[in-house]
Amino acid sequence: MRLTVNGTSREVDVEPDMPLLWVLRDELGITGVKYGCGIAQCGACTVHVDGIPVRSCQLAVGDLEGAVTTIEGLGTPGSLHAVQAAWIEHQVAQCGYCQSGQIMSAAALLAENSNPSDADIDDAMSGNLCRCGTYPRIREAIKAAALTLRSA
């Protein structure tokens, strides 16, 4: 089975019902995408499929249609996405375990809506749990990233 991840075509030999999450983590060694619940409740596993935010724990790899982007493909320490730069500037992370998913959800929101209201942020982000409680900083960072993207 062939899939495109972060711009690279990859071959995997797995059963089609294996969730994309585990194909990425265990078969391809892409660990920026996290396992938190496995039942679409926490958002830690959020990736983009053709730009749409998807809970990769719920997507059987056999049902995948489109190119996958994980946090590693969004930006890198040397070449940050605007959302990542805002996350660093606002020092959002505590344990950081949820933040890959938070950043992927936020990046998808901003790609659709470059000037989100608080209610828009609530709608886009309420599927992403943060057990450390970094929500206030996530909100600030999203607004800062939106500003950067609008003035870019």
């Binding site: 294996m18 996290k34 938190g36 039942i39 890198t76 660093i88 959002v92 505590q94 950043i103 206030p136």
Partner: protein
Amino acid sequence: MGRLKTITRRSFLIGSVAIAGGVAFGAYVVATPHANPLLEAAGDGEAAITPYVLINASGITLITPRADKGQGAYSVQAALIAEELDVELDQINIDPGPPSPAYWNTALADEAAAFIVPSGGVAERTAHGVLSAVMKTIGMQITGGSTTVPDGFIKLRQAGAAARETLKMAAARETGIAMAELRTEAGRVILPDGSSLSYMELAPAAARITPPQDIALRGPSEWRLIGKPMRRIDIVAKSTGTQSYGIDHAVDGMVHAAIVLNPAQGGPMNGFDASEALAMRGVKDVLQITGGVAVIADNTWRAFQAGQAVRFDWGPAPFPATMDQHWDTLSGSFTGEFEDSRQRDDGDVDISFAEAPGLVSAEYRAPYLAHAPLEPLSAIVRIDTDAAEVWTGTQVPRFVQTNVGKIAGIDPDQVTVHALYMGGSFGHRLEDEVVKQAAEIAVKLKGTPVKLTYSREQDMTHDFPRQIAMARMRGVVRNGQVESYELGIAMPSVVMSQMGRQGMSVPGADSQIVAGAWDQPFAIPHHRVTGYRALQLAPISSWRSVGASTNGFFYNAGLDELIYEAGADPLAERIRLCNDDNARKVLEAVGEMSGWDGALGDGRGRGRGVALTQSFGVHCAEVVEVTSTEAGIRIDKVWVAAEVGTVIDPVNFDNLVKGGVIFGLGHAMNCEITYTDGIADQSNFDAFEGMRMHQCPAIEVRGLENGARVLGIGEPPVPPAAPALAGAIFAATGIRLREMPFSKFVDFA
């Protein structure tokens, strides 16, 4: 991380030692009680060296032995060393160091002592001495109790200063220039002519010098780092998906394992049939372990799936099957037979009650709660003939060594522990079941690294949760004031349950039973707080703020009922009763920040509540404002003030306080673990949700710095959150909430 494992522990037992071309600096000699006033808590006359700075040709490494569960402990510890060492945070590596008695946590011992005896007295000091010695003896290199900062504030700076002065001495010897003419900056010793020598160059010479012991630490006016906003050393990695956590770690040749244990936690397995599982793709084996089985596979998901295909015959849980029985046990514990402590007994409550025209009384409940850090637990263990290696995120590396050693049949010192980054803990990683289970598997697969990953369901249903607890209050009001307040609290002993699993007992009362209640800064004329130690029920463990997580709610909720009965204002009456200057300032601060002008209750659905809890030495007050809407209670805003002596990093402080408030509010809103037939009813975040983004209020934080002691802030914001929320909901709706979670009685928007 972990490269220090090659340095033997023995090498730390002298002042500064040459290590493969480098030098390791100890902090100071722990000598007699009077030799070093900084170390009175450790004063048992035994010499030891604590090593925190390693310099060699490849760079400067700061040892940060307190685990970073996400609270920024690595950055804070590094900053304290760097402050005196004169290095920048981007010049250094950090390493948690090997598990070693040298890193024992004296502040945690202090806190344990404070559990047992009143503050400030001779008895307390004696108990501190005894417990510190005990902690040192057993080498409890524990991260917990918000002690990283109090434990390290002096000793880490002292370590940095000793290393700096030694490097200057080395430079003086090399150059013949007097030490007084040398200064240090950014990892270099600067000579009078402006040229400089790097610490790395000086390391071999420094290794031959005995570090000076009594260096005066710099005062606050000279601090470069402390008190200024810092950039966490892990912030880029944690914003780019490049931070590797325990669950991400891989070791060559490892196999993946998942376990299935009796869902009735701790119950026996009478039999199992794994034939279907063994036929599944990627499954290598199914092995019996204590209380269940382990599936060995080539992929985490395949191991999870195969675990679900095993059929079992389970026995019953070793604790009462229904919640009614748990509550009945607590309810029956308010008797002399179960009395554990009565550390506060001011005035004469009994006479006051006898003379009063009427008593106010109420009963409160707090449920079991899972820790549920977002990263499920995992561990990699490899066991060889006379060595074992462990890769995991843990707060108790010494326990891990001991327990893996036992399972492998080798000495604890033959077990190497690599401490990995943790995706949260909240006390979960004070337990080491996951490591023991991985070791049980690894001992059967000698030489093969076994990575055991918990499913969320395993993690939540087999957590050792926060204690269940109940409280009973009686009180009297007179002339608009609170005159008499009696609070009894019943819970099983967390310390007994937790330490019992490590084969230890803690003598005397378990003051966690009354933590956050007996020692509150209020001078109520007749005041008594009694702890009752209920029989052990489900196994329990320390959950962020431990006893205070339940008792902060009980104490403030009871006080609120009395203040209401007196017709007084919840904030004004607390300030009137307050007998501690720092606590009063904290209350006044939240009053000013919130523009407090009463609890509202203006008929338009708005309401405010206030609470103060002193826990871990920190006075923390919170005002919560809610609105009762069509969709339910909406939490609009929270104001928090806390007294911590010195705020080391204002950014991290703000983040931790907000996180603590959200943690306290979220669990009070909608979380509980309950048991049916001894099986936890909640197994994932659909049934144990906490707070989500759309429910998160605006939070305003202020750190006060009036106190003499420097204190940690990881836990203290949690206890006042629930009672302040309950007070706000009462003001808004008239509904008095006496049991958590509040979602049993009101809806949240």
